[in-house]
């Protein structure tokens, strides 16, 4: 009822496909974007204009870093409407909650938060944060990093299109990594 069978709960739940890469559970970044856009979040698909740099930066979307992402997206897509997103990645080691002692059977997790580059778009960070990979602490995460880098490259090409629920159509999406949050050991 829950796990097996055509009508089981697990088979019919909306969830991302998990693949195994070099002993890590890995979820495709493109699947995460598709998942996010399949809900009714309002992401603008209009052409972007440069915001004046003289105004005080109050939001991260008004920062130069995000403005440059928008400009690069426009340069890639010319005049076509596009959803421009940025993401922040974070990876760190953690101990399982059931562990009775610290630093035993520790794990490693990489998460990605995907947000809009448009100042007026608001998305709850909790609903746009996805665990991308989980593995064991101390193992080489190179294979995961490589897969993630390849996906980022594809999403920067402007050739990735996804179904967009709000406008009920397929839209091209441009996504860039803005910042990578890690502690010294992770880096």
């Amino acid at each position: 009822m829950y796990r097996r069978g055509k009508f089981s709960l697990l088979q019919n739940l909306l969830r991302l496909t998990v693949q195994v890469i070099d002993d890590h559970a890995y979820v495709s970044l493109q699947d995460c974007v598709a998942h996010l856009l399949s809900f009714s979040h309002n992401f603008s698909t209009m052409n972007y204009k440069r915001v004046s740099t003289t105004t005080t930066v109050q939001k991260i979307t008004e920062s130069k870093a995000v403005q440059y992402i928008r400009e690069r997206a426009v340069a890639v897509m010319k005049n076509d409407p596009i959803v421009v997103l940025y993401c922040t990645e974070s990876s760190n080691d953690f101990d399982p909650k059931v562990s009775t002692k610290a630093n035993r059977q520790s794990c490693w997790i990489k998460t990605v938060t995907i947000l809009s580059c448009n100042t007026f778009d608001t998305v709850d960070k909790r609903s746009s944060t996805f665990p991308i990979a989980v593995g064991k602490k101390g193992h080489s995460h190179e294979a995961v990093e490589l897969a993630f880098a390849n996906e980022l490259d594809r999403l920067r090409s402007g050739k990735c299109c996804f179904y967009y629920k709000s406008s009920s159509c397929i839209v091209p999406v441009y996504l860039e990594l803005m910042v990578s949050l890690q502690d010294q050991l992770e880096r």
Partner: protein, 319 residues
């Protein structure tokens, strides 16, 4: 992930820069004269692009740039052919992935051609902050390349060795080519996009350092035992509450074995409470030197004597 050294490395104390900070740390902070100018004229008091106006005693927190005082002697076996300066010194520079790739490529070429020794390559890559794991692999790959090239040229005289190496190469082809750059070096992420996380800076750097300093002070005041009991009691009572926003664990000793960021976060939340008890710490029993002759002192007595004077207690008893 990045194959870069941690902050403890001689040339990697500051993330994203290569600089021998231990040698130049005195000239980096703003000097008194510059501070006065800065207070009077604001942060743009001095145009650093103008050499004539540059301060000669400080860099005003600049890490790179044309400052002779930032130049340091390279490590002992640093390859001389890479030093451009006539005074045989090297200057700090900002790291980026292209620079790291160029450095690895150069080291690979020089090692394969036999121009540099392994030690020279190690010292060169060390200055770039590349960690030991990567350096070992780079040297292993270039050694394999060089040995295979030699065996191939002399395969008539050493046929067995050549055959063994050929089979090994067929099995592990990547080990006989240049070291493959990590994924983070080749994708379009820049090194400065890996930023420090405020949580780590606050709770692993500031809180941990503060508590260690206080612990050191209590040790010199002979109040450490009472301090540990007091802090341990506070943390234990909070730990029993199982609060998810304040995960305290009892402090067993002056070491933080098994402590993670969230435990230091709890410590930071509680710090005003238990630091308020510092004035009420009671000193432990006063230390007295043993009355017996020194040659008859036990190891414990010797350690206590050293500890009472704030000296290291490591080492062996000399007879």
């Amino acid at each position: 992930m990045n194959y870069l050294m941690l902050g403890g490395g001689k040339y990697s104390a500051r993330w994203g820069y290569s600089a021998n900070i231990s040698e130049v740390h005195q000239v980096i902070p703003t000097c008194d004269n510059c501070l006065v100018k800065q207070k009077r004229n604001g942060p743009d008091f001095n145009d650093t692009s103008d050499n004539a106006n540059k301060c000669t005693s400080c860099t005003n927190w600049e890490m790179c740039g044309n400052y002779p005082m930032l130049r340091t002697r390279p490590p002992g076996k640093f390859p001389q052919d890479t030093i451009l300066d006539v005074n045989q010194s090297i200057e700090p520079f900002e790291l980026h992935y292209k620079l790291l790739k160029d450095a690895v490529k150069l080291a690979n070429e020089k090692l394969t051609d036999g121009i540099w020794s392994n030690e020279e390559a190690k010292q060169y890559l060390w200055v770039f902050g590349i960690n030991n794991d990567a350096v070992t692999k780079i040297i292993e790959h270039t050694t394999n390349q060089r040995l295979f090239a030699y065996a191939e040229t002399h395969k008539d005289s050493i046929p067995v060795e050549y055959e063994v190496m050929r089979c090994h190469k067929e099995r592990y082809p990547t080990k006989y080519g240049p070291w493959l750059y990590p994924a983070s070096w080749t994708c379009r992420i820049q090194l400065n996009q890996h930023v420090d996380v405020p949580m780590h800076l606050l709770f692993l750097a500031v809180t941990k350092s503060t508590i260690k300093r206080i612990m050191e002070w209590t040790r010199y005041q002979n109040k450490q035992n009472h301090y540990l009991r007091m802090v341990g009691g506070v943390l234990e009572t909070v730990a029993k509450l199982h609060l998810d926003w304040c995960v305290a664990i009892p402090m067993q000793s002056s070491k933080f074995g098994g402590w993670v960021s969230e435990n230091f976060l709890a410590l930071a939340r509680l710090s005003r409470w238990f630091f308020s008890m510092l004035p009420y710490l009671r000193p432990g029993p006063e230390y007295r030197d043993p009355l017996r002759p020194l040659s008859m002192w036990t190891v414990k007595e010797l350690r206590d004597w050293l500890r009472a004077r704030g000296l290291s207690t490591h080492g062996k008893k000399w007879n």
